[in-house]
């Protein structure tokens, strides 16, 4: 593989005739590193021998022959065979074997990827995706039912509930999320108040910033932000944890030992999240309001006392309850989707990654869809 820059002419040298055949002597190192010169030599020789008839290639002068050299030799033979009989002499059995393989490979039709017709492929993909979505929805519903049954069974025998697991998952999903949820909610509060103040100042209605921040944070954004963060943080973690256990066949082992994976893996996570998310949402709302108050003070000189007084008159406590009422539902959805995708992991490690991504996307999607439904529901109740 040394990049010897041998001149092209050195590889194939005319060596007179043998009977009616023209003789070409092959020389030098027919290897990958000399490919440029080799291919030129082959081209040149094939062109130079046009109309020559029979050709005999004496190959004993080849010092080294690798796959690429064999391919070039095969190519030369094929080009010359179009003109007349070709004989390649002087190869030892190993080289002859390589040349035979090269001759087969050299003239075969191109490999190519499996044929794809683009338009049909798009239609096919869309169809498959639609069916997959239907299957998936049914599957998820079946899973929800299964969890509900297990939950009911466990409710009859609460001793089976794994208390320490629930506490552990509450810590992981709730307590450990406090810094990030708090910071992001505070910033959202700041942004809302800042933008609101800018608009409301034009009408001289600066103080209504408090209404804007209070209602939007308490009713919608607090719980929605928290749910989205938790879906990204904990929903994905559920999928990855359970998925890894699937890959290690731990879930199968549980089943064969007569343990119910839904009871052991899914219920504690779901119960923990259902308990933790409302608390987190409340905390997020408080931090959001704090952010709003800070921004109001900075931009509008509204003191904290004024902010709180206005908040009391503008926002009834029901607004907060409407917001928090959604949290357990979102929590259940996030936990169910996370666990469902985790249990769907099969065999390979790359399906853990794929399904983790999917679990986050699906749970955020469902959270927002449910939020929209809740809005319609509450509006029709006049809340």
């Amino acid at each position: 593989m040394t990049g010897t820059a041998e001149p092209a002419a050195a590889f194939l040298v005319p060596a007179g005739t043998a009977g009616t055949a023209r003789v070409l002597a092959a020389r030098g190192r027919w290897v990958l590193g000399a490919w440029d010169g080799l291919s030129q030599a082959v081209e040149g020789a094939a062109a130079g021998l046009a109309g020559a008839g029979a050709v005999r290639i004496e190959a004993q002068g080849i010092e080294a022959l690798d796959t690429v050299g064999a391919i070039e030799l095969a190519r030369l033979a094929r080009r010359l065979e179009a003109l007349g009989p070709v004989e390649i002499a002087g190869l030892d059995p190993v080289r002859q074997g390589l040349l035979d393989a090269a001759r087969k490979a050299e003239c075969a039709p191109p490999i190519g990827r499996p044929v794809e017709r683009p338009i049909i492929a798009v239609v096919e993909r869309a169809g498959r995706a639609a069916y997959a979505m239907l299957d998936e929805t049914l599957d998820l519903l079946a899973f929800v039912g299964m969890v509900a049954i297990t939950l009911g069974r466990t409710a009859l025998r609460p001793a089976r509930l794994r208390g320490s697991a629930i506490i552990h998952h509450m810590e992981k999903t709730g307590l450990d999320a406090l810094p990030i949820v708090g910071l992001l909610s505070f910033l959202i509060g700041v942004v809302l108040a800042y933008q609101g103040a800018d608009q409301l100042r034009r009408f001289g209605a600066q103080l209504f910033v408090v209404n804007l921040v209070g209602i939007s944070i308490l009713r919608e954004i607090g719980v929605l932000m928290t749910s989205i963060i938790v879906a990204g943080r904990s929903g994905s973690a559920f999928t990855a944890q359970i998925g890894t256990m699937q890959v290690n066949q731990e879930v199968d082992a549980m089943r064969t030992l007569g343990l119910d994976p839904v009871e052991i893996l899914v219920l504690p996570r779901m119960i923990a999240l259902v308990l933790a998310l409302p608390l987190l949402s409340f905390y997020a709302a408080a931090m959001g309001l704090l952010g709003g108050a800070a921004a109001s003070y900075a931009v509008l000189d509204v003191t904290l006392a004024q902010f709180l007084r206005q908040l009391q008159t503008a926002v009834p406590v029901g607004t907060m309850l409407v917001g928090l009422a959604k949290a357990p539902v979102f929590a259940a959805v996030i936990a169910l989707v996370g666990c469902y995708e985790g249990l769907k992991v099969s065999g390979s490690a790359d399906s853990v990654g794929r399904l983790t991504t999917k679990s986050v996307v699906v749970s955020i999607f469902l959270v927002i869809v449910l939020d929209a439904l809740f809005s319609i529901l509450f509006a029709s109740f006049g809340l």
Binding site: M1, V31, L32, G33, S39, L98, A105, E106, P110, I111
Partner: protein, 264 residues
């Protein structure tokens, strides 16, 4: 292949001296010496955790040893500039445990990767070379356009082998080539490796647990015991007094493999 000096029997292509490997407080190799001669098949055995795969990765330059020198084809692997390392990498081929094929590419594209990366061959030549390698590895013609996920474990290994052979390497590294194959597939793979080694004049460095592979294809065996290696032919290994080696070759599985070889 022919692009290398002829088999001389005593030229050393891999020379490991005083190798020391540590993970935290845990010493894996200590003062390990190993020579691999051109044209031989060396089987590396050892209990779990004795650092067989670590040794392989150190020779390949994927892990840096704590001390000692590793020379491959005359180059010190631990003190190699980037271009020199790339040049050296072209002279060896590696087959990882499950083939390590790139999952987004077809088998043919996988085998073509080293050729496209490291050479300026035209497409027709690359394709012909790919076809030769795939045939050498004993894969059927129609597997060229398949994705790795469509292949069985044994076929994935063969495809990985075809990729490892793409640049006509001088040294072939195999990491547990027969693990996870059924006995028939494993025997066929052993035969394939042995055949390729003979026809291409390869030097083969094989990490394995498979006693049958050791006995059928390996010229010498390196056993990792007590953080060092002991090398020798199968016959020499049978007379070793070290307890682990005795257990390994005189245990029921070792005996069975040796008896089977003798009966052949």
């Amino acid at each position: 292949m022919d692009a290398q000096p002829p088999y001389s029997g005593d030229e050393t292509v891999i020379r490991v001296r005083g190798l020391r490997t540590r993970f935290g407080p845990q010493v894996i190799h200590d003062g390990l010496d190993l020579d691999v001669r051109r044209g031989e098949v060396l089987g590396v055995v050892g209990g779990s955790g004795t650092g067989k795969s670590v040794l392989l990765k150190e020779i390949l330059g994927l892990i840096r040893p704590a001390a000692g020198s590793i020379e491959v084809l005359g180059h010190d692997i631990t003190a190699l500039s980037e271009p020199a390392r790339v040049a050296l990498q072209r002279r060896w081929g590696v087959l990882f445990q499950d083939g390590a094929l790139f999952s987004s590419m077809t088998v043919a594209e996988n085998v073509a990767v080293p050729l496209r990366e490291h050479t300026d061959l035209d497409n027709a030549t690359i394709e012909a070379a790919v076809r030769i390698k795939i045939r050498m590895a004993g894969l059927p013609e129609d597997s060229c356009s398949k994705k790795p996920s469509q292949l069985s474990g044994g076929m994935r290994k063969r495809a990985g082998l075809a990729r490892a052979l793409a640049l006509d390497p001088e040294i072939l590294f195999l990491d547990e080539p027969t693990a996870g194959l059924d006995p028939i597939g494993a025997a066929a793979f052993d035969e394939l490796v042995g055949g390729l080694q003979r026809s291409l004049g390869l030097t083969v460095f094989m990490v394995t647990h498979d006693l049958d592979s050791l006995i059928t294809v390996c010229d010498r065996i390196a056993a990792l015991v007590d953080r060092r290696v002991r090398t020798g032919t199968v016959a020499e290994m049978l007379t070793e007094s070290h307890p682990w080696i005795r257990n390994y070759f005189h245990g029921p599985r070792g005996r069975a493999a040796i008896d089977a070889q003798e009966a052949r």
